[in-house]
């Protein structure tokens, strides 16, 4: 089908974008960035926004830069920007590893990092990255600018802490210490499909023992989540098979899996265990 009619706005600055969004938000106005999720749901008429505020013409939102100990990703930075590491060290490699699982190449050319975060699909790879690493989301509106921690941002399936008149202008990811090890594992039925389950882990090893473990799963529950019990199970242990199996089991016990027409909660629980163990194995491979 064709999308329903809408009024089109093409601001040229962040201020103009935020002002326009403020005017149309109460009249079902939406931000259009890469459009790779929004336009399909408009074609299905699942969304019929009365206004689209297209931010692709806002040069300042294309910024991708390191500020202090953070990588700042502007709202118009596309997935494809991460095909090659954007910063030295583990974070750049992590993003380049994960990005290859997002849709297909033409989707990655248009779709944006921040768009995925704002859309908040439970199976979104970037939402998992933001949760696992503790990203800060910067929301701007005519009322001002606020920063929302990843742990407070995701509120369920395609639901976030953003207000209707707020633009997610950038996401700030912490740079990782150079000796950080990471592992990512995603399972989907076909290349480019949404994940049925995935895990992202990161930790350091000091004197043969795991320190600062981060273990998060996505696609399993309504929103990505760090699993504290699994992190506690891994901390202080040697990064070996037995420790990984203990942590993976802790994830399986902790999750409250989504069910749908083709996958049961039990299936997703098993998957959570497997993707976690494989992600941990990749971190030391």
């Amino acid at each position: 089908m064709k999308p329903a009619p809408f009024r089109y706005h093409a601001p040229k600055s962040i201020e103009e974008a935020v002002e326009t969004l403020g005017e149309v938000a109460s009249d079902d106005g939406r931000v259009l960035a890469g459009g790779q999720s929004l336009v399909p749901i408009m074609a299905f008429r699942l969304a019929r926004p009365a206004h689209l505020v297209d931010i692709n013409g806002v040069q300042a939102l294309r910024r991708l830069a390191v500020e202090g100990d953070r990588l700042c990703i502007g709202a118009c930075v596309r997935h494809a920007a991460f095909h090659q590491p954007v910063v030295d060290g583990p974070l750049g490699k992590l993003l380049a590893t994960v990005v290859r699982h997002i849709g297909h190449y033409p989707i990655r050319i248009r779709g944006t990092f921040c768009g995925s975060i704002a859309h908040a699909d439970p199976a979104s790879e970037w939402c998992l990255v933001a949760t696992a690493l503790g990203a800060d989301m910067v929301a701007q509106s005519t009322r001002g600018r606020r920063t929302i921690a990843a742990g407070d941002f995701f509120r369920g399936i395609m639901t976030t802490a953003l207000e209707d008149d707020e633009l997610l202008s950038q996401v700030r990811l912490p740079l990782l210490p150079t000796d950080t090890r990471f592992g990512f594992y995603e399972f989907s039925r076909r290349a480019g499909d949404f994940a049925l389950g995935m895990a992202l882990v990161a930790f350091r090893v000091n004197d043969g023992k795991v320190t600062e473990p981060r273990i998060a799963v996505g696609g399993i529950e309504a929103q990505p989540r760090r699993i504290a019990l699994a992190e506690q199970a891994l901390a202080g242990r040697a990064p070996d098979r037995a420790a990984f199996e203990t942590a993976a089991e802790a994830v399986a016990q902790a999750v409250d899996p989504l069910e749908d027409a083709i996958t049961s909660a039990e299936y997703r629980r098993d998957l959570a265990r497997t993707v976690t163990r494989r992600a941990l194995e990749r971190a030391v491979a």
Partner: protein, 160 residues
């Protein structure tokens, strides 16, 4: 509620001044307003890739963009591949390797591969398979498409 806009699209180097609703997708504008019907419309929600065109050199789904967003961009479609009577190496390879049957998906596959191979003809086999997984074909079983694109990549790499 929405008012038509005057825009100019640049397709294969030719400009087309058209008047469209904001909701007009790029693929509909290319076909119906600009008369370039080589680009096909399949699923209209970004899954099949039949509508793939090059936007400033990169392959994109033209059903997932609005025409008003493509103003000022260089659009390249299947009509822009051949050089006069001389087929693009990808077009010739699809003929030589029987890379199409009904032909519906072919313009999309050609533009997808052209966008990437013209920049990187030395793409690895794994990356090529990953790339070609972007689009759907219901006839060929893909093997001959893969063969055709590999053959074209060799030719395009040698021509440098």
């Amino acid at each position: 509620m929405s008012e038509k806009r005057e825009i100019t699209l640049t397709i294969n180097g030719c400009t087309h001044a058209i008047r469209v609703d904001p909701r007009r997708t790029l693929v509909d504008a290319i076909r119906d307003d600009c008369g370039q019907t080589g680009t096909h419309i399949g699923c209209e929600h970004g899954i099949c890739g039949a509508c793939t065109v090059l936007l400033d050199g990169e392959p994109v789904r033209s059903c997932l963009m609005f025409a008003v967003q493509a103003e000022g961009c260089q659009i390249r479609t299947v009509e822009g591949l051949a050089n006069g009577d001389e087929l693009h190496p990808l077009q010739q390879a699809f003929i030589d390797h029987h890379g199409l049957q009904c032909g519906f998906c072919t313009p999309g596959f050609l533009m997808l591969a052209a966008g990437v191979l013209e920049r990187d003809p030395n793409i690895s086999d794994d990356d090529l398979l990953d790339l070609l997984a972007s689009n759907l074909c219901r006839c060929t079983g893909y093997q001959n498409i893969v063969k055709a694109v590999r053959a074209a990549a060799v030719k395009m790499g040698a021509g440098r």
